[in-house]
């Protein structure tokens, strides 16, 4: 394949302007470095002296800053009110800022105003090694390979390669074996809810009576016996529920026959998108909004998705009312709560 190469700029120097007309170089010539323009401080000793004084002053600012910091550390108490904490943070930070700023500004000002500012050019060399070095490198590798005899000893080569290839298993096996606890991913499918589990207020754990849930109310709910779980937080992550009461006439559909009680419905609080707690209940529209990605669910219509990136309705928790008037679960959820995953329906 022939590529069209453009002229190398470095080579343009070879082309001369022809005065006899007719022929011009393809490119302009690099005019070379511009002349150095002296700074004020280079020509005016007073300006030079002034710059030096400024630099000294900046270093003094830094010294002062460190003193402010030390003083703030000892004199400004941290205290136990937001005001005193803020004061301590501010004065420590101010001291640190001045301390650093003084040094930084002084050094830069010094470099700019007083240090030699004549531009210098340094040559570059191509990255590529010389042909000689390349040949030497190849020869060195050849010699080494020859010395080891690896080319001739096929079995040895194979044994060497396989040993190297599989030894990492000794580290990987226990790591992979243990790092995911018991690897039982079917736990995704079950929550702490069972038949008869009382719905209780989060975080107090008080069970809820149906009569207490007035229309327009939303209760953030956990299973009453959640604290009995070995890892309550893990179970809470799946079991949190939102309990809502609306006018029964507004309830257009639900996910199962008889899963609600007189306009009281319970839905998983874990978004079916990526698992944020869906908690923004708008009383007038009966819409539930997820604050993370704004999936919107219509609680009056079986928590169907009306907007946003979620695809599935929030799973409904079937509820009933026990003899004492407490709201209890009819069963666990009928489908896995939370985000979708590969074997969710298996």
């Amino acid at each position: 394949m022939s590529m069209q190469h453009n002229p190398v700029p470095g080579n343009t120097e070879a082309v001369e302007v022809h005065r006899d007309g007719g022929h011009y170089p393809d490119r302009f010539e690099n005019p070379g470095l511009e002349e150095h323009r002296p700074r004020l401080g280079d020509v005016d000793p007073a300006a030079n002296k002034r710059a030096e004084r400024q630099i000294v002053a900046l270093f003094l600012v830094s010294l002062l800053g460190t003193i402010v910091f030390i003083a703030a550390y000892f004199v400004v108490p941290l205290g136990d009110t937001p005001e005193s904490m803020q004061r301590s943070n501010f004065f420590l930070g101010l001291g640190l800022f001045l301390s650093l700023f003084g040094i930084g500004a002084a050094a830069v000002h010094w470099a700019k105003a007083l240090m030699n500012d004549h531009e210098r050019a340094e040559e570059r060399h191509p990255q590529r090694s010389s042909d000689e070095n390349r040949a030497g490198a190849i020869q060195a590798l050849k010699d080494g390979a020859e010395d080891s005899g690896i080319g001739r000893r096929g079995v040895l080569k194979g044994a060497f390669a396989s040993a190297l290839a599989i030894f990492p298993l000794t580290i990987a096996l226990p790591l992979i074996g243990e790092v995911g606890e018991d690897w039982d991913v079917s736990k995704f499918k079950h929550t702490w809810w069972k038949k008869g589990t009382k719905l209780a207020l989060d975080p107090s754990g008080e069970p809820i009576k149906a009569a207490d849930v007035t229309i327009g109310s939303v209760f953030h709910v956990i299973p009453e016996d959640l604290h009995e779980a070995e890892h309550p937080l893990d179970e809470k992550a799946k079991a949190v529920v939102l309990l809502i009461r609306m006018d029964p006439r507004d309830l257009r559909s639900e996910q199962g026959e008889g899963w609600s009680y007189d306009g009281i419905v319970a839905f998983s609080k874990i978004c079916t998108h990526v698992g944020c707690p869906v908690a923004l209940y708008e009383q007038q529209t009966h819409h539930l909004l997820c604050p993370c990605h704004q999936s919107t669910f219509d609680v009056a219509d079986g928590a169907k998705v009306v907007f946003g990136p979620a695809n599935r309705p929030l799973p409904q928790l079937p509820i009933e009312v026990d003899d004492e008037g407490y709201i209890v679960a009819q069963s666990d959820f009928h489908e896995p709560v939370g985000p979708s995953y590969w074997e969710r329906l298996k």
């Binding site: 022939s2 050019a121 993370c292």
Partner: protein, 593 residues
């Protein structure tokens, strides 16, 4: 006074001798002390990243002295009333303690977090500089990839650190991570168990994140930063085009003392700015969010800015019809596309760009003089398009804040952004490319006809003409120094005997790619074109001195062989300008400096 100096001098000499005898450091000092670095503000963007990394390490070490990476439950007792007696993890409790009970602890925490945000912002701006100036071209492709990996590691460092305090905000971020990981086909659930040591949130995550955050990722970052800088020294820094700057030299100031002072000073200034922010501006007030609990969430649930684009992508994706069940297995495209595919495409494009551009350019030479962004219209336009798409995603990720602050509907914002995500980058590409080509034409115009002076001259026959002042050679060089890159020319499909050539298909593909890059272009003015332009105006010239005649000879006024729209238009229209006599002598100015 003088004795002290001598004594210090003698001590320094003895130390140097001691070191050199054992390390041969003299050679290294000789080589590097006066190494030349070019000067430009945009070359300091990478230094901001480097220095914020140093600040991160300093403040991070401080924080590890007080932070307890444990998910064990405890009850807080301390000065923060709103948390008194609240059940929380050791991680959260120790974060509160180091903020409220360790003098300077809160300052260090805020320094650490501001520095982390600055680190990522500086990496991104530095990467933009490198991209738009073509600094990734040979021999720096490998260093671009190193820098790219550093960007990814920076994201990992930021995300793992952000989650360490075990607060509600970052906990919900982790929960989203869990949801995203689970959406990955086949291995998703297992990957989730792998990360969390079982079900979310589990008991292992904070200690694991801590190790990742303070050992694994910083170790990798430091190693790669070392490599990144080593390659910079090896390649020597790129430089902006200008008089005297070529691909075979580097023009600037020596490392010692000028750069030692400037860069060293800049470190202190970067640290100072971070300290100032930490002293006055609250960042990540975890005491407001409270310890992690899977039930609560707060409005404004967002990650730090560098992850916002993912949040935005997740928000933009419509959910309806995007979750597929195939043979009983669930494929969540509504999560996979925004959280895996979109960043996958973004990061792949960034990682492979130098190689794609090299293939399209067909250029195997080293480049050390940077491009002016306008001189690479396709690249510049692509860069702006990518940034535009990124910005749309970031804004989409902030739509609830935008909605609440400016009284707009979050639903409307999302609907609009769904369209803008596709439309704006295309528009941005087109506009940027037009602007680049326009600027190039303006450069041509300037070279050919000089500056307008505002001086109007009336000729005897009544014609009015504006006098133009030609560019001096340094000014001109900046506008003509670049090469016009043209689409690849390839050998025909069949050779002279009519046999189909092997590898033609590949060449053809490369050519198509190359046309995409370089079909539309404006070529720089050639000496012949300049001469032609001047000769058109020759009859208007006021008393041009004899010695300048050489530049006004009539030439064949055609541009390069494959010249396109721009070069054609740019070459005409030189007739009606007066040219003021040049002041310098081009022959003597050209070199001899």
């Amino acid at each position: 006074m003088s004795t002290t100096t001598t004594r210090t001098g003698a001590a320094a000499g003895a130390t140097a001798d001691y070191l050199d005898q054992r390390t041969g450091i003299g050679t290294a000092v000789k080589t590097f002390a006066r190494k030349i670095f070019p000067d430009h503000w945009s070359f300091l963007l990478g230094e901001i990243a480097l220095f914020s990394l140093v600040v991160l390490i300093i403040s991070g070490v401080f924080l590890t002295m007080f932070f307890v990476p444990s998910m064990a439950e405890t009850h807080y007792e301390g000065p923060w009333a709103a948390m008194n007696g609240v059940e929380m993890s050791e991680a959260f409790a120790s974060t509160l303690r180091l903020s409220f009970e360790v003098r300077g602890g809160l300052l260090m925490r805020q320094i650490h977090h501001w520095a982390a945000l600055l680190f990522m912002a500086a990496i991104v701006t530095h990467m933009m500089r490198v991209f738009f100036t073509g600094a990734f071209r040979k021999p720096r492709e490998i260093n671009w990839v190193v820098g790219f990996v550093l960007l990814i590691l920076g994201l990992a460092a930021g995300f793992s650190g952000y989650s360490l305090p075990d607060d509600v905000l970052s906990g919900n971020g982790l929960r989203i991570t869990d949801g995203v990981v689970r959406s990955i086909p086949i291995i998703g659930s297992y990957l989730s168990y792998f990360i969390f040591g079982g079900e979310f949130p589990g008991q292992d995550l904070i200690p694991r994140l801590f190790t990742v955050h303070v050992l694994l990722v910083p170790g990798l970052i430091l190693a790669l930063v070392g490599l990144h800088l080593l390659l910079v020294v090896l390649h020597k820094h790129t430089q902006y085009p200008g008089s005297g700057r070529t691909d075979t030299n580097v023009v600037g100031y020596p490392l010692f003392p000028t750069y030692t002072a400037k860069a060293g000073g800049f470190f202190f200034l970067v640290f100072a700015v971070i300290a100032l922010m930490a002293a006055t501006m609250t960042i990540n007030p975890v005491w407001n969010y409270g310890p992690y609990d899977p039930s609560p969430v707060s409005a404004g649930a967002q990650p730090d800015w560098y992850m916002l684009f993912l949040e935005g992508a997740l928000r933009l994706m419509p959910g309806a019809g995007t979750e597929w069940v195939i043979g009983g297995y669930t494929l969540s495209l509504n999560v996979l596309i925004p959280a895996v595919v979109v960043p996958g495409i973004l990061f792949t494009v960034l990682a492979v760009w130098p190689f794609v551009e090299a293939a399209a350019t067909g250029d195997k030479r080293e480049h050390h003089v940077l491009d002016r962004p306008r001189n690479a219209p396709f690249r510049t336009a692509m860069g702006v398009a990518i940034l535009t798409a990124f910005t749309v995603l970031v804004l989409a990720g902030s739509n609830d804040i935008i909605g609440a602050q400016f009284s707009m509907s979050i639903n409307d914002i999302i609907e609009v952004f769904r369209v803008l995500f596709f439309v704006l980058p295309v528009l941005a590409f087109w506009i940027t490319k037009r602007i680049c080509l326009g600027l190039q034409r303006k450069d041509r115009e300037l070279v050919l006809h000089g500056h307008e002076t505002g001086r109007i001259v009336r000729f005897a026959h009544g014609e009015y003409i504006e006098v133009h002042r030609p560019l001096d050679e340094h000014e001109r060089w900046l506008l003509v120094q670049h090469e016009a890159r043209r689409p690849l020319e390839i050998e025909p499909a069949e050779d002279s005997r009519g046999v189909r050539r092997k590898g033609y298909g590949r060449d053809r593909l490369l050519q198509r790619l190359s046309r995409l890059f370089y079909e539309d272009r404006v070529e720089p003015v050639t000496p012949a074109e300049l001469a032609a332009a001047h000769s058109h105006g020759e009859h208007d010239t006021i008393a041009a001195p004899e010695r300048n005649e050489s530049t006004r000879l009539v030439g064949t006024a055609t541009g390069g062989s494959g010249s396109q729209e721009g070069s054609a238009t740019g070459a005409v229209g030189g007739g009606q300008h007066l040219v003021e006599p040049e002041t310098g002598n081009p022959e003597t100015d050209a070199r001899n400096r």
